[in-house]
């Protein structure tokens, strides 16, 4: 009988072989994936590393050189860059910090107010306001820019930080409202009700229950608000004309427009410094940022 001449193959053996084959295939595809991902990461990250390297290179090495290792380390690019413009970068960083800190504060307070109203309170006209709020997500800043400019001009606010900061206290960024609403809705409503019975006013519920439980959402909003305000270019470009009022991005732009031919090293040095706070925030709060995007599904 043929069965006796062949080594008996049990179903367990077949299953074992199948599993091994599968595991081998999975491993091969994982290796391929990693190669693809590593190559992509390198392409993604190379420009940034190159910029960092360029910030330490002598000017004559910046062009025509792919390498990442400066022939000599020109640390003075940083000190030169810091004072390359008529006003020192100390001022620009201070200006950016003031605008950013106040903007973050304004966004977190005003947007959480609006989000609390939409997520937790009942009032007539709520659905209409909500729809209008969602529609403002779509409005390009350019469309409201001119009338806003005229308004602030008439208020005498141009050449001050008020046009950059005051709108943040008026919950202008619907993205943050939306993000917070999403988060608030996950909190059980019974908490509010228990607090209501415990004698809380709506404000006390917001302050003592909702806010402490929404720290991750508030942090996410604060981080994004920080990054976007820090990087904001159009707003300062329109409202700030005096160099001593410039924020860091505006100051960087002056490097290009002053045609400083021999200033590439210092320019990259300041570019690196300008993104350093963002990089630090990103490294520290990476998890929150990434979860925030997945949660809100925006930006």
């Amino acid at each position: 009988m043929s069965a006796s001449t062949m080594p008996a193959q049990t179903t367990a053996d077949i299953a074992h072989a199948y599993r091994q084959e599968r595991a081998k295939r999975a491993k091969r595809s994982a290796v391929l994936k990693h190669i693809f991902l590593i190559l992509t990461s390198l392409v993604m990250i190379y420009p940034l590393i190159w910029m960092f390297a360029a910030s330490l290179k002598p000017d004559n090495q910046i062009f025509g050189d792919l390498g990442l290792w400066p022939s000599e380390f020109q640390w003075e690019n940083y000190s030169e860059g810091w004072n390359a413009l008529p006003v020192s970068f100390t001022t620009f960083f201070w200006n950016s910090t003031v605008v950013t800190v106040l903007s973050v504060l304004g966004n977190v307070i005003s947007c959480s107010f609006a989000a609390y109203a939409f997520a937790r309170l009942e009032f007539s006209g709520k659905t209409i306001w909500f729809a209008l709020m969602m529609m403002t997500l779509m409005i390009p800043y350019h469309v409201v820019l001119i009338p806003q400019y005229i308004l602030f001009l008439n208020l005498g606010w141009v050449d001050s930080y008020l046009p950059l900061i005051v709108p943040k206290f008026l919950a202008g960024d619907a993205f943050f409202i939306f993000l917070m609403i999403q988060f608030f809705r996950q909190l059980p409503r019974e908490l509010d009700e228990a607090a209501m019975i415990d004698g809380c006013s709506p404000f006390k519920i917001y302050w003592a229950i909702i806010m402490p439980l929404s720290l991750p959402a508030m942090a996410t909003a604060a981080i994004f608000s920080f990054i976007w305000t820090w990087e904001d270019f159009l707003g300062p470009l329109v409202y700030l004309n005096d160099m001593k009022d410039y924020t860091v991005p505006l100051a960087l732009r002056s490097f290009i427009s002053t045609d400083g031919v021999s200033q590439y090293g210092p320019m990259f040095a300041m570019s690196i410094l300008s993104i350093l706070p963002i990089l630090l925030f990103f490294i520290i709060f990476q998890r929150l940022i990434i979860r925030g995007i997945a949660m809100s599904g925006l930006k």
């Binding site: 403002t136 469309v143 009338p147 159009l234």
Partner: protein
């Protein structure tokens, strides 16, 4: 009356900052900008009524308006699909518990966070310089790259590459969407002897359709709005030969370089309508290709 007041008081109290902002900084300006678009206004003198003159001029005589439209559309039509395809590809490679996923995710997302900064725009000018990094790499392969920044035929590509470089945020959203697809479906398809391509088109794409749609709308709006990259790389003017004259750059210059606020407002309204139209088209067509899971039929 008193009851009505009490029922609504808290809600409107909390909403009040937003309401003020909404009227003063959103809906008010939009209507004001509609009015201004019918006037000649240079900030110094009061607006003069012109009726539809700006729109007539824009559509009939303004070559730069058409150029700006063309540049912007070209940018949107090329960069958005490429960015989404790339984002989806990488998201799929990252899906299913690959090792070090946190690292990759962070690295891929980093450009999205830095992409809007002036530092990166400045860097991009350098990368695409004739003696810049891109051409040096091409020379390694024996190819001679063009004058990316000076040649109107190529200049837009610098910005398209910059846009694709920032594929991180749609990627994260795709990743969240892929996670939500039940693994059993792929196993069932495997039992039904479906290959990887079949699985992609029969399971991944249809189940991901809502996410694809969402990303598409979002990235389209973002692309229409993009400004600082084009502004910096073109030196603020849309040069060379207006090949980087994004609609937003044109609008900015009309308003703040030439103080033609009325005309710029008309441009702003055209931009608003274009974005609204594209969003509407996306939503309208979505019912033919996007099926939500909790929907019947």
């Amino acid at each position: 009356m008193q009851k009505f007041f009490r029922r609504n008081f808290a809600g409107y109290a909390f909403l009040s900052p937003w309401l003020v902002g909404f009227f003063l900084l959103a809906i008010g300006p939009i209507l004001a900008s509609l009015y201004l678009s019918f006037t000649k206004y240079n900030v110094v003198r009061p607006p003069q009524w012109l009726g539809l003159d700006h729109y007539v001029h824009m559509f009939q005589y303004d070559q730069r308006f058409w150029k700006a439209l063309q540049v912007t559309f070209q940018f949107v039509v090329i960069s958005v699909p490429l960015k989404l395809i790339f984002a989806l590809g990488v998201a799929m490679a990252l899906d299913k518990g690959i090792r070090a996923i946190g690292w990759y995710r962070a690295l891929f997302y980093l450009p999205s966070i830095l992409g809007g900064s002036i530092a990166v725009a400045i860097l991009w000018r350098q990368l695409f310089n004739y003696d810049g990094v891109i051409n040096l790499i091409l020379r390694l392969f024996g190819a001679e790259g063009p004058y990316w920044l000076a040649d109107p035929k190529y200049s837009l590509w610098t910005l398209i590459v910059l846009a694709i470089w920032q594929f991180g945020s749609p990627m994260l959203i795709f990743l969240a969407g892929l996670r939500a697809i039940p693994q059993e479906l792929y196993e069932a398809a495997e039992i039904d002897a479906a290959g990887p391509v079949k699985k992609f088109f029969a399971i991944t794409v249809p189940l991901l359709a809502p996410v694809i749609f969402f990303n598409l709308v979002l990235q389209m709006i973002e692309a229409f709005k993009s400004f600082s990259g084009a502004f910096i790389i073109s030196g603020g003017s849309g040069a060379p030969l207006d090949s980087l004259l994004f609609f937003t750059v044109y609008l900015y210059n009309e308003a703040f370089s030439f103080l033609r606020m009325g005309y710029a407002s008309a441009l702003a309204w055209v931009l608003l309508l274009i974005i609204a139209l594209f969003t509407a088209i996306a939503f309208w067509t979505s019912k033919y290709w996007v099926h939500y899971e909790n929907e019947r039929g």
